[in-house]
């Protein structure tokens, strides 16, 4: 449930430019604990830039990002991930040559304690490393069960159909047991049935696993159905923010999407 007072993630006056291109202009956004926040906007509005800034892939020129009150603006990506922010990508970034299981296990990287020696010994299955492997596998199997990808668990990701790969990538993000999940267009390129499944999974994840989700999505039906709040970007500026019903009727939003004139 949305808690009004607990701010999970806060973006403060973010500015990001690439040479002369201003990608984000003075973007401020507060994400409350327990909400699904969707970011929408036309192509090139800067939606993915926001996610890239949050998880330390892009460096902002000015502005700050706070996660649970802590300033994470200058943290490198792996440290941001370790704090509990996981994401999925628009174009699916999986290890295509590895099996689904191995891809998911990669998401458990931070939870593996065995050092080099332990891992070497783990190769022949001894003591701690052996136990750890089993423990990690159990966590992964729960995610496999959760996302209903049992039939493909041993398949090489490169041979798995697109819709399922999206699910595998989501699984890898969940393997991190994150506090906040960032999803970049999880429904892109899917048919109606796959979209329905994915929407169901997002809601299930929200209810069972991660209680704060930031979602970038173009499918308005999905956005309006499942998000608590929606933020709208246009040319790097945040032009609106509010409940789905408010966003639907906001003249600024209609203008950004449809141009001027009557909607």
């Amino acid at each position: 449930m949305v808690s009004e007072d607990k701010i999970k993630l806060k973006l403060d006056n973010l500015h990001l430019s690439f040479g002369g291109v201003r990608a984000l202009i003075d973007v401020g956004l507060e994400v409350k604990e327990g909400e699904i926040l969707s970011i929408i906007g036309p192509n090139g509005a800067g939606k993915t830039c926001i996610l890239n800034c949050i998880n330390g892939f892009y460096r902002t020129q000015s502005g700050d990002i706070y996660f649970e009150g802590r300033n994470i603006t200058r943290l490198p990506s792996h440290k941001v991930a370790k704090l509990g922010i996981a994401r999925t990508f628009q174009n699916i970034e999986l290890f295509t040559g590895l099996s689904v299981l191995d891809n998911l296990l990669a998401g458990r990287h931070f939870y593996m304690t065995g050092g080099l020696m332990g891992s070497v010994l783990g190769g022949v299955y001894f003591g701690k490393a052996h136990k750890e492997e089993i423990e990690q596998r159990r966590v992964i199997e729960e995610i496999i069960d959760f996302l209903e990808i049992e039939p493909i668990r041993k398949q090489i990701v490169g041979t798995v159909p697109y819709g399922l790969r999206k699910r595998v990538e989501l699984g890898r993000a969940l393997a991190l047991q994150p506090k906040v999940l960032l999803m970049d267009e999880p429904m892109a390129g899917m048919n109606l049935e796959e979209k329905e499944d994915m929407a169901r999974f997002i809601l299930d994840i929200y209810e069972e696993r991660v209680n704060t989700v930031i979602l970038i999505e173009h499918d308005m039906g999905v956005v309006m159905d499942i998000s608590h709040r929606v933020a709208v970007l246009d040319f790097g500026r945040k032009i609106a923010e509010g409940k789905p019903s408010e966003i639907k009727s906001s003249p600024d939003v209609i203008k950004a999407y449809l141009g001027t004139g009557k909607a």
Partner: protein
């Protein structure tokens, strides 16, 4: 044993093995987990008592909807043990189909698997006011559902434990009082003709059916079975489960319906029950995979499969196989048959019972060639099995001889009639239909046309009502020809027409995955099902298959014209039943115009189909369907 009932048998076995032996095995998080007989006993007992504490009485019904999982059995045996009648609805049923089962059976409790089924039941909640509780066993995604009608499976079990403390021994007393004539099973017919009818079986009939099923290879403690047929169908409960309880064997459940192939191979069931449809698919699967295999494997297949068929035919005719052929077969077994058996999960198989429909003898011989003890069984679920292959007396063209205790005759109209202890009690709340099926002398009128061979074997030709007559009076059996067609790996379904016409015609639905592969290897580009099915090359391919089949048919019954359907036949469109049987009436109405075109001189037909999308929009799709003529090969 006189007075034996399912619940008494269940109790005896549970007491005998307790926690020393695995009764049910299921896969969770990728690892096989097990329930011992004691676990099963407790789950069923407390679930039953939980239901009773909420007002469930002897004779009441429950409806169970879900995939094959241990909880299905828990709920089923809970209901049986406390004198109730469990029934099931298919997992993929639409809400209105579920509503029919719940309403017709008058169930006060509905036990479902997961969110998907819960959503469907809540959808029709207003239509089923008699339902007191909807109980689910997989809570995923249901955390924030707060409808008071919902209840978790383990909550009911908890209620039962509490009830047991207040009423100790009550459950066992009910079991002691159970009678072989008490209804213990309610299953709905597939509804090939109209609304499904509820078939009620009692302990006497179920145990008799199972005894017959078990004859070829009596079930023992080491036997393994994999449950994957929809449990709502009832066949598994009728044939397998009593035998498995009696023998103290183990039933396994696949992890998901999609992982069946892997899971079955891991278990290696020793006994299996299958349907022609599945076996046809397995043969197609092998044929297609072999085409993709390495040179050596293709060679082995090409070389030894004919040997296998040869030996199979000799074995089936009870001829002595001489040393030479036995040696060749042994080599073939090593190189081909054993690996194939392993791949198809028949490595440890002791008996394969096939029933539910008739099957092409080619498919049957394939399995015999692999060295599998395959047998056909005949019977309608109302009274089954009434015939089966006994001992060495096996003929792939027949369904075997009458089972012990049962009588089988052909009536004067050519209808197969039978009676025996495996006969059902009657249709649920439908005495009219019951008296139509069972006459005063107790004979069950199956509605199947058949005859008895010189060897005393039963041959079921087709449904009596489906038998066709050409305009010149020559008879033909649509399903006989359809089964021959379905043996082709590229044909998934076929509809044979020709009643009152000059010749036999066929509507063929192609097998998209197999045909797609074929097209790829021949560099034939295609996009969708419609596109592929209407390729000239595909027509040529299917035509060649049909010509091959025509050669083995009497001249009058040969297929003269055919069309490839632009869509797959689908249960959602009411063209097939949920067990994938053809609904002939619906299909011939739906494709009436196309069938008419088969009997004109048109070479093309424009099909218009109304499609209803999920969101309620409708659209009309027009497709041009080719019609091809088949000539005799020698002309």
């Amino acid at each position: 044993m006189p007075g034996e009932t399912i619940s008494k048998l269940f109790k005896e076995t549970c007491e005998k093995y307790g926690d020393k032996k695995v009764a049910l095995r299921y896969k969770n998080l990728g690892i096989w987990q097990s329930y011992t007989w004691k676990d099963w006993w407790e789950q069923s007992k407390y679930f039953a008592l939980g239901l009773m504490s909420m007002g469930f009485k002897s004779g009441d019904r429950i409806t169970i909807i879900g995939d094959n999982e241990p909880e299905w059995y828990f709920a089923q045996f809970a209901a049986i043990c406390c004198g109730g009648i469990p029934t099931g609805a298919y997992q993929d049923s639409l809400p209105k189909e579920i509503q029919y089962v719940i309403t017709q059976s008058g169930s006060a409790f509905v036990v479902v698997e997961d969110q998907e089924q819960v959503d469907k039941v809540l959808d029709i909640k207003d239509e089923i006011p008699a339902v007191k509780k909807v109980i689910y066993w997989d809570p995923k995604g249901l955390r924030f559902y707060n409808d008071p009608i919902l209840m978790r499976f383990d909550e009911v079990v908890e209620l039962g434990r509490e009830y047991d403390r207040q009423h100790p021994g009550q459950f066992e007393q009910i079991i002691e009082k159970s009678d072989p004539e008490d209804a213990a099973m309610l299953t709905y017919s597939s509804g090939t003709t109209g609304l499904p009818k509820g078939i009620v079986h009692c302990s006497r009939s179920v145990l008799a059916a199972s005894r017959c099923w078990d004859l070829p290879a009596p079930t023992g403690e080491k036997d393994e079975f994999v449950s994957f047929f929809p449990l709502a169908y009832g066949a598994e409960f009728l044939y397998v489960i009593p035998a498995f309880i009696k023998g103290g064997a183990t039933v396994n459940f696949p992890e998901e319906m999609e992982t069946i192939q892997v899971d079955v191979r891991e278990i290696g069931p020793t006994k299996s029950s299958s349907a022609p449809r599945l076996l046809e698919n397995e043969v197609s699967f092998v044929q297609v995979k072999i085409a993709d295999a390495s040179l050596f494997k293709r060679l082995a297949y090409r070389l030894f499969m004919p040997v296998g068929y040869r030996i199979a035919r000799m074995k089936l005719r009870n001829q002595k196989v001489n040393l030479f052929w036995r040696a060749i077969y042994a080599l073939g077994y090593l190189l081909l048959f054993r690996p194939l058996r392993d791949w198809l999960a028949y490595s440890g198989n002791r008996a394969l019972l096939i029933g539910g429909a008739s099957m092409a003898s080619e498919v049957f011989e394939f399995f015999v060639a692999l060295g599998i003890d395959a047998r056909m069984m005949y019977g309608m679920i109302e009274c089954t099995p009434t015939a089966m292959h006994m001992g060495d007396d096996i003929d792939p063209e027949t369904s075997g001889v009458p089972t012990p205790d049962s009588e089988l005759r052909i009536s004067d109209d050519g209808e197969i009639i039978s009676r025996g202890p495996q006969k059902m009690l009657g249709y649920f709340n439908n005495p009219e239909a019951t008296s139509k099926l069972i006459d005063e002398a107790g004979w069950v009128h199956t509605g199947d046309a058949g005859f008895i061979t010189e060897r005393g074997h039963l041959v079921c030709i087709d449904r009596l009502a489906d038998l066709g007559t050409l305009a010149d009076g020559a008879g033909f059996s649509p399903s006989y020809i359809e089964n021959k067609l379905k043996f082709s790996p590229y044909i998934r379904d076929a509809v044979i027409t020709g009643d009152d016409m000059d010749y036999v015609g066929a509507l063929v639905s192609v097998d998209f995955p197999n045909l797609g592969k074929w097209a790829e290897t021949r560099r034939i580009p295609y996009t969708t099902f419609v596109d592929l099915s209407q390729k000239l090359e595909v027509y040529e391919l299917i035509k060649k298959d049909i010509m091959g089949i025509n050669k083995r048919l009497p001249e009058k019954q040969r297929i003269r014209r055919f069309a490839l359907l632009h869509k797959e036949l689908d249960a959602d469109d009411a063209e097939l039943t949920r067990t994938r049987k053809l609904r002939r009436k619906e299909v011939s109405q739906r494709y009436h115009d196309m069938i008419e075109a088969l009997y004109s001189d048109k070479m093309e037909y424009t099909a218009e189909a109304k499609v209803t999308y999920r969101d309620g929009r409708t659209a009309t799709i027009t497709t041009k369907v080719r019609i091809a003529t088949v000539e005799d090969e020698d002309k």
